[in-house]
Symmetry: C2
Subunit: 403 residues, 2 copies
Amino acid sequence: MNDIRPIRAKSGTNHEGTSAHNRRVMIDALRINGALSRADLARATRLTKQTVSNIIEELERDGLVSSQEAVRRGRGQPSTPYGLVPEGAFAIGLQIDRHVTRAVAVDLVGSVLVRDEAGLPPGGPSNGTKVILDLVAGVRSKLAGIVQQSEKRLVGLGAAMPGPFGVAGSGDDPWMMEAWQKFPLLETLTAGTGLDVGLQNDAAAAATAERMVGAAHGLDHAVCLFVGYGIGAGLILNGELYRGTNGNAGEIGMALLFADGKSTPLEHRASLASLYQHLSIDPADPGLYARINDLALRGDQSIHAWVEAAAVDLRWSIHLLETLFDPQTVILCGSAPEALVNRLIAAIGPLLPSIAQHRGRTLPRLQPGMADPWSVALGAAAGPISRAFDPRFAAILKDSLQS
Amino acid sequence: MNDIRPIRAKSGTNHEGTSAHNRRVMIDALRINGALSRADLARATRLTKQTVSNIIEELERDGLVSSQEAVRRGRGQPSTPYGLVPEGAFAIGLQIDRHVTRAVAVDLVGSVLVRDEAGLPPGGPSNGTKVILDLVAGVRSKLAGIVQQSEKRLVGLGAAMPGPFGVAGSGDDPWMMEAWQKFPLLETLTAGTGLDVGLQNDAAAAATAERMVGAAHGLDHAVCLFVGYGIGAGLILNGELYRGTNGNAGEIGMALLFADGKSTPLEHRASLASLYQHLSIDPADPGLYARINDLALRGDQSIHAWVEAAAVDLRWSIHLLETLFDPQTVILCGSAPEALVNRLIAAIGPLLPSIAQHRGRTLPRLQPGMADPWSVALGAAAGPISRAFDPRFAAILKDSLQS
DNA sequence: AGTAATAAGTCAAGACACTTGACTTAATGA
DNA sequence: TCATTAAGTCAAGTGTCTTGACTTATTACT
């Protein structure tokens, strides 16, 4: 009769949770709307003027917001807008890709202050860990050289790498990503940097970036279709990144397509990997990015065939994402040369019919996102910033309150 | 300069929000774990014993929980477990299907107390509204005859019908569902019943039912693949039903499949509609359910061919849902005869490889859910109960606190 | 048996964060 | 000039959780 079953329950909350939530709501409002007065904030958040005043005062003491020039708007006392202070917080973003690793330092509003990259030697984590830790340390010290107190204001390190995580893989990846995926990266990075470390896949990172400073800014439901070496979808649902049970939600590249009696993962058909194979070029070529961009700009015939084929699969992928997630918009982004992404977008249209053809639609069904080799690292850095400052259910719960 | 841009912000919260959240967390814990003592609840929710005592006292006054026989568990004062009181709250669930409408009255723990159905005359809402309102009124008065104070404890009316909502349709549906989808159903039901009314699609309702009393009980990430006249997926993400921008998330039946050079919606290939067509029978036949069940039990050859074909599409659908949502489990349910669902499940296996083949997996990748013509109505009723009593982010916000 | 240990649950005071309503400040418009 | 309007502050009030001591009830040990 002595049942020792664990009791499962969500955590309760208390005053601290309330306060933490309200602080986050203020920051979020300032991020979405730009500078706002206390009175504006009170109306928008449904809190009282007094409460807003107290919280703003606290945020100002913490260096997260600052007052601006008073604004006269008709009768009444002029309002004093408060805006986010970019240097109020920083985060380091780290991208681990097949043959390269990139790190950036980003501030509270998502500006990249420092960026650096390094080649990853073959051999997986055993050879790459030192390179990565050195890269992070370098970015961190450069940041310290640019701004005061950066270390105190560093909220964490976000890492991004291709998924999926924790899955028994196919073993056909020459880039040892599987070894990386199995490696205790979080623990290694935490031990090596002393920072709070988070990990997400590259598509999720791209979506996080789009939400902070890109096309998904202020949206609560958006899907980012990320075309990189692989292909994946980053999901913004209810205003938050959706991770799924194991952080693998959105791994559309693993979706099997059936054609001509055989099944192929989408990843093998529409991704830069397939392009490299199509063009018979070495993905480790350092001048690759410029070369592809050049080919895309020139409208090269060899690229054209791949674009047309990939566009068919992407068009269908977008249709499927619209059908399953019912987002406000789909964003096409990638760690691909911008010219190539533009060609893809042009080739994808017109979109397939879907539930996205909705009466109340205001946003385009498909929008271009960032096409920048640094966008994944930026999104990786945006992760810790979002965790620290965006309103989230988890942030009100007692078991998340440590500070 | 007089910019009248609307300021967008999430709502703040206050003590009431805190309290409302904690009440919901208690109810949720009792629902998941069964009866618990105050001390157990305090540990599980991370609240203090005193706080739990106060909230339990309040919930007991409200008739939502009641104490049970004291339990001796080793040293120390025996604990007094508290459990949910089924008749603490009720909701009416309404299913509007092509040729039939069903209504149920459900209690706090998801037991169906009253059920009734009626045929829907052709002609869409103009002819059907009266039938529906009469059906609801009948169920409501029968409930009042069974339990005391049912009207006071009625938290709302949940309606479910096939989606998608608000989409420019294809117009090829003989059952006038498009007319229903365009009809101001919420307003009509609110005016006709005086209740708080919610609306979701049938797959979402099935998922809500599975979460309250079925295979998704206590799970935070589950996908219900619902096979009915159409086919759809109900999504439980982060412990809540995910609706998408327009309540159309999960409408996998609208997904276009490409084969033999033409595109077909999944719905036309794997759904009861396709079965009826395959068997050349009239979907309005009142003895349909028994007839199909009988055919499935006998292992009829005509059904066998459809099952084999549908299983291919369902196998792929499950693979896709696993890939995109990374759920803890996929549940196959339907408003289809149980024997048919069992045949389908048997025919679907083995599943396609996917990211669901994860190291830490404990639940089966695919589980059977309810296969019951009443499950959609039950899920419809579970909607208002979940909105009223489950922990949700929205419930802590000031703009959701009215009571 | 008697007593120490253990755990549930209560009591009463305290702390925290939001709310209330009156008040001050500073601008515009008639 | 002065009523009106709106931003923002002040100080007391309120609701909800927390704290720490205390009571109650049972088992385990001597």
